[in-house]
Amino acid sequence: GLILLFYLVFYGFLAALFTFTMWVMLQTLSSDIPKYRDRISSPGLMISPKPDTALEFYFNKSDAQSYAEYVSTLRKFLESYDDSKQSQNINCTPGRIFDQNDVAVKKACRFNLSELGQCSGKEDKTFGYSKGTPCVLVKMNRIIGLKPEGEPHIQCTSKEEGMVEINYFPPEGLIDLMYFPYYGKSLHAHYLQPLVAVQLAINSNSTKEEIAIECKILGSPNLKNEDDRDKFLGRIAFKVQMTE
């Protein structure tokens, strides 16, 4: 009996101590910005839609069912970019870092879906999947305070020559500097990260073949894309196989 009571008190004390020290520790943190960001000095790249099984797209352009999931994922992803959701966002000056350090309420820059051209889903509800020109959206991971230098843009290459023709929206896969820096979830609630749509016009001879594509971020000296260990730092590789 006494033993149980002892451990109850003992563990109760430890739990209280744990809670208290955690509380103290949390008090030292800002709710806006993490204390350290040195573990993510350079952003990773990611694509949408993201297939369940690794990063491999398999679909039949004549079978709507085979790409339905990709399409719905894209649609859902782009919902937040809908004009109606961007009413509070402002139009910023393109090509320049949008510094708002002195402003209490951080504004978000508008990202017009129309910039994604044929991949915006407005004209082609299937994002090109039905025509053999599937779209993949490339995005750069959000990192608080990151200010890219130079003219960052996405460039994708296919290992196999001549199998696929790649188009970018916005043109040249440009990522505009006006979307940076990011101020974090709480300060920058309406922030939308810039997207680059990559349209893969697959050569009709190359159907049924697996096409490996690698996209990289280029043109910016402070965005890494060659890390040995991190295969997603400033780059992403995926495969596409289309049948008819």
Partner: protein, 963 residues
């Protein structure tokens, strides 16, 4: 003799004349035993599981598959390396002993092909004719066909300490009793003899005893039992937690493969991989320390056995005593004087002014054939080598101490005639010229058995004057003689006579055969008594044993009176206690009427022991606290040891003879004498006493007790962090947070930072006088008891876990993952395809960035455990006393441990932080201090625990918190 050809034939038939060494376990078996002993089985299971999951994952094409391969390899390496280490340690301590068994090849003088030849003794065959002379070891069992004054020392075989004379006569049916057989491995003390070899090698009497010894089973040492108990306990905890969480994780719908990987982690976290190696090192450190104090330990585990010893059965001669006759008492002028018998006497304090003493000293000096070997002038008198028998040596040294240069005195008093001692006369006589140039008389001096000497006297010297020897004076002599004899001393009488000058002029031809001089009506001068005195350190050692609750039993082949006298003088029988016989004498009633329970002491004669039943022996061992066994044959020693073991005692036995080897083997710890001991005894023993001194055993006991206490501390220290290693796995499984600590990291704690500190605890001084408490109870005082496990696991271990988790959460929170975000993220966190994992601030992380953060978490967790282990190390210095009573800086090795611990952690974190395979990353400096408050809390809490234990002995707190 034999022809060489015939000898070769017999040699081929019988084999060489040497004892077959006891069957040794093959080295490879010893090594394999190390590989499967202890926790190794658990780790092998872990390794096999790792390889299985590697196989499965490889088949599935998972990227992380190789991690499991490496983990398996690392686990296997850990087992093999610790196995090699333990094997090496064991082998090293065995090697010390191996040097003992290497005997100088013995030579024998054999007649072969009618020629005398020197041959190695192992070439002897039955039928060879060998010659031996004084000083030789008998090369085989031989029947003597020619002897000349031959005496052999059979003490190693029968325990008789007196040399036995040997002749060609067949005197007894029993080969051990008959005079015409000399035994293998005994020594010829003096004289020469020729004999025919009748038995060689294992067929000799010694060979038969040796094989009897190897038949006596070797029992597990107490510490081996304790360690086994501990291994079962920890393995039990590991397996039950492992299986429990395997079931939990399976029912939480984790994949079987994942559950197996968790199981491996739990096993690795639970098993203190480095501990058994640490225990071995601690034991060998103690063994080294004991070797310095003249206890050479053959078997590492015996170090602790000595500490738990509750009964010591000790030899008398050489162990308790100095093994040399020394003059203890004198009687002249109707008065008994005692002499100094210590080892390094330089003067004698008794009153030397009486002229009687001058006369007595002259007889002692002159009537003596013993001489110092030349060239020892610089040695202390007591250390000089003397040619002559034991009593004469004693008298010579006694005289030399008091009078100075004896040889010079003898030269000045030239000897003109001499009759050496023989057993019919029982006296020794010599006639000298005096050193007084004016005194032309001859001086006749005589010594011998007191009653025989007295018979030859008509006067007695009192204060330098000759007085008639009347009945009153004779009575006084009898009283003194009885008194000295009753002290177990060998008494000699001394008398002299100045031969009248007119009857015996200068040129008188003394003839010792016709005895043309008076040998009666002499003048009695005094008595001297001698004893083999106790070593001066022994009484103190015995009283230490007594206060340490160890019963000391003397087992000797000597006469009961001598045995009892020595037992009394060293305190084995204390001054106030009485034997049954003493009580009977005091109350003047027959022995049978004495209440046996009133007698605390007992002197048991070997003859009585022979007729005793086991129950009677048990009764004696049980009822008397002070026991002396006298006149025992070495075989009876075994019976006594077994009797003590039946009482549940841990028995230490000392012995030197070959015939002691069964008892040495049977004992929980056999202690052989390094100087006087035979090789067979050293082989059978677990420990060798280099100086043959009983007091060394006591220091050994102290070291043994200390190491038991310190091992407790080491184990408590080591077990604690196992919980801090285990909790991460359990919480990882239940709360699905990112893995807080890696399996490899755990191995770095167990086999890296923790090793030196846990060894350092072996250097801790005793908390209180460990020689003032009773020997530990084999059944109750376990090495790892419930309190130790509970306190380490459920209290300090949990505190450490809390501290480490605070650091872990701090690292993640400061990088952007608040604790609330971490719960339940495991599946996505570990998904290789998710490279935009969002943190609490909206930032996105790639898989590698997360993994790197996870390693930082490992490092932080590791550093926190290390920091708190420093506190754990400090609190483990004592179990009851405050650290401040013990002294924080007294054990310098602890500080070496602490610095090594922190140093290794610094190297791993900052030096090897870039080696991916090790899963360490450089860590912000402030994270080293997150756990410091918890470390301080651990210290304070433990001080409070100890304070309450000291304040309220016997209370609930004491019972539950003292380990």
């Amino acid at each position: 003799g034999l022809s060489s050809a015939r000898a070769a034939e017999i040699l081929a038939r019988d084999g060489p004349n040497s004892l077959t060494p006891p069957k040794a376990t093959p080295e490879i078996v010893k090594f394999l035993k190390q590989l499967v002993g202890g926790f190794s089985i658990l780790l092998w299971i872990g390794a096999v599981f790792s390889w299985i999951s590697f196989g499965i994952q490889l088949a599935q094409g998972a990227e992380s598959a190789f991690d499991n391969l490496y983990l398996g390899v690392v686990l296997a390496l850990v087992v093999i390396l610790t196995g090699i280490f333990a094997y090496y340690q064991e082998a090293k301590s065995t090697n010390i002993m191996a040097s003992f068994s290497k005997m100088i090849p013995q030579q024998a003088l054999v007649i072969r092909d009618a020629e005398k030849k020197e041959l190695p003794a192992d070439q002897l065959v039955v039928g060879d004719v060998v010659e031996i002379k004084g000083g030789d070891r008998i090369p085989a069992d031989i029947r003597l066909i020619f002897t000349q004054g031959c005496k052999v020392d059979n003490s190693s075989l029968t325990g008789e300490s007196e040399p036995q004379s040997r002749s060609c006569d067949f005197t007894h049916e029993n080969p051990l009793e008959t005079r015409n057989i000399a035994f293998y491995s005994t020594t010829c003390v003096e004289g020469t003899a020729t004999g025919i070899v009748i038995n060689t090698g294992d067929r000799t009497i010694i060979g038969r005893i040796a094989s009897l010894a190897s038949g006596v089973g070797n029992e597990k040492t107490p510490i081996a039992i304790e360690i086994e108990h501990f291994v079962y306990l920890v393995a039990g905890v590991a397996i039950s937690i492992g299986v429990l969480f395997f079931i939990i994780s399976v029912s939480m719908r984790y994949k079987i493969l994942d559950s197996i990987i968790f199981l491996i982690g739990i096993i690795v976290a639970n098993v203190p991989e480095g501990l058994l190696a640490t225990v071995t090192v601690s034991l060998s450190l103690t063994a080294k320390r004991m070797a310095k104090k003249n206890c050479l330990v053959k078997n590492l585990e015996a170090v602790e056995t000595l500490g738990s010893t509750s009964i010591i059965c000790s030899d008398k001669t050489g162990t308790l005593t100095q093994n040399r006759m020394t003059v203890a008492h004198l009687w002249f002028d109707n008065q008994i004087y005692s002499a100094d018998t210590s080892e390094d006497q330089t003067t004698q304090p008794f009153d030397q002014s009486s002229p009687s003493w001058t006369a007595l000293s002259k007889i002692v000096t002159l009537c003596n054939r013993a001489e110092f070997r030349p060239g020892q002038e610089n040695l202390p008198i007591m250390k000089r080598v003397v040619v002559g028998d034991a009593s004469e040596t004693a008298l010579l040294k006694f005289a030399e101490v008091i009078l100075g240069d004896v040889m010079n005195i003898r030269a000045r008093n030239k000897k003109v005639a001499e009759i050496p001692f023989n057993s019919t006369n029982k006296f020794q006589l010599s006639i000298h010229e005096t050193d007084d140039p004016n005194d032309k008389r001859f001086l006749l001096v005589m010594k011998g058995a007191p009653e025989r000497i007295l018979e030859r006297c008509s006067t007695i010297m009192i204060n330098g004057k000759e007085e008639p020897l009347d009945s009153e004076k004779a009575e006084a002599f009898q009283t003194a003689y009885m008194e000295l004899g009753g002290m177990g001393e060998r008494v000699l009488g001394f008398c002299h006579l100045y031969l009248p000058e007119n009857e015996f002029p200068d040129t008188y031809p003394f003839d010792t055969d016709s005895m043309n001089f008076p040998t009666s009506n002499l003048c009695f001068v005094g008595l001297l008594s001698m004893i083999d005195p106790p070593r001066s350190t022994v009484p103190d050692a015995v009283s230490k044993c007594r206060s340490a609750g160890i019963k000391v039993i003397m087992v000797t082949g000597d006469h009961p009176i001598t045995a009892k006298a020595i037992a009394k003088s060293v305190g084995i029988i204390s001054a106030t206690s009485e034997t049954v016989e003493d009580i009977a004498k005091r109350l003047n009633i027959p022995v049978e009427q004495v209440n046996r329970r009133e007698a605390t002491a007992a002197v048991v004669n070997g003859m009585e022991l022979k007729d005793m039943s086991l129950q009677q022996l048990d009764e004696i061992l049980c009822n008397h606290s002070e026991i002396v066994f006298a006149r025992t044959s070495p075989q009876q020693k075994l019976i006594i040891v077994e009797g003590c073991q039946r009482q549940g005692a841990v028995v230490a036995v000392t012995g030197d003879g070959v015939n002691d080897s069964p008892a040495l083997k049977k004992a929980d710890i056999g202690i052989a004498m390094g100087i006087a001991g035979s090789d067979a005894a050293k082989n059978a023993a677990d420990m060798v006493l280099l100086d043959d001194n009983f007091a060394s055993i006591v220091t050994g006991v102290e070291e043994g007790r200390l190491i038991f206490d310190n091992l407790k501390k080491t184990i408590a220290y080591t077990l604690t962090k196992n919980i801090a290693e285990l909790c991460p796995f359990l919480i990882y499984i239940i709360a699905s947070i990112p893995m807080p600590i890696g399996t490899i990291t755990i191995l770095f704690i167990d086999l890296g930072t923790d090793i030196i500190p846990s060894v350092a605890l072996a250097y801790e001084k005793a908390e209180s006088d460990i020689m003032n408490r009773r020997p530990r109870n084999k059944r109750k005082d376990r090495l790892v008891n419930e309190q130790l496990a509970v306190y380490s696991y459920l209290q300090i271990g949990i505190m450490q876990s809390v501290g480490a988790f605070v650091t872990y959460f701090t690292v993640y929170a400061e990088q952007g993952f608040l604790p609330s975000t971490l719960l339940g993220v495991r599946v996505d966190w570990e998904n290789n395809a998710i490279n935009d994992f969002e943190d609490s601030y909206g930032q996105e992380w790639t898989k590698y960035q997360r993994t790197y953060l996870q390693w930082t978490g490992y490092t932080a967790f590791f550093v926190s455990i290390t920091i708190q282990q420093v506190a754990d190390l400090i609190i483990r210095k004592t179990r009851r006393n405050s650290i401040f009573q013990q002294g924080l800086f007294r054990n310098k090795v602890i500080w070496v441990g602490i610095f090594s611990q922190i140093g290794i952690a610094l190297i791993l974190t900052y030096g090897l932080g870039h080696v991916t395979a090790l899963n360490f990353t450089p860590l912000r400096f402030q994270y080293w201090f997150v756990a410091v408050p918890f470390a301080i809390l651990i210290w304070v809490y433990d001080e409070v625990r100890k304070l309450f234990i000291r304040r309220y002995p016997g209370s609930w707190w004491d019972k539950n918190m003292y380990y």
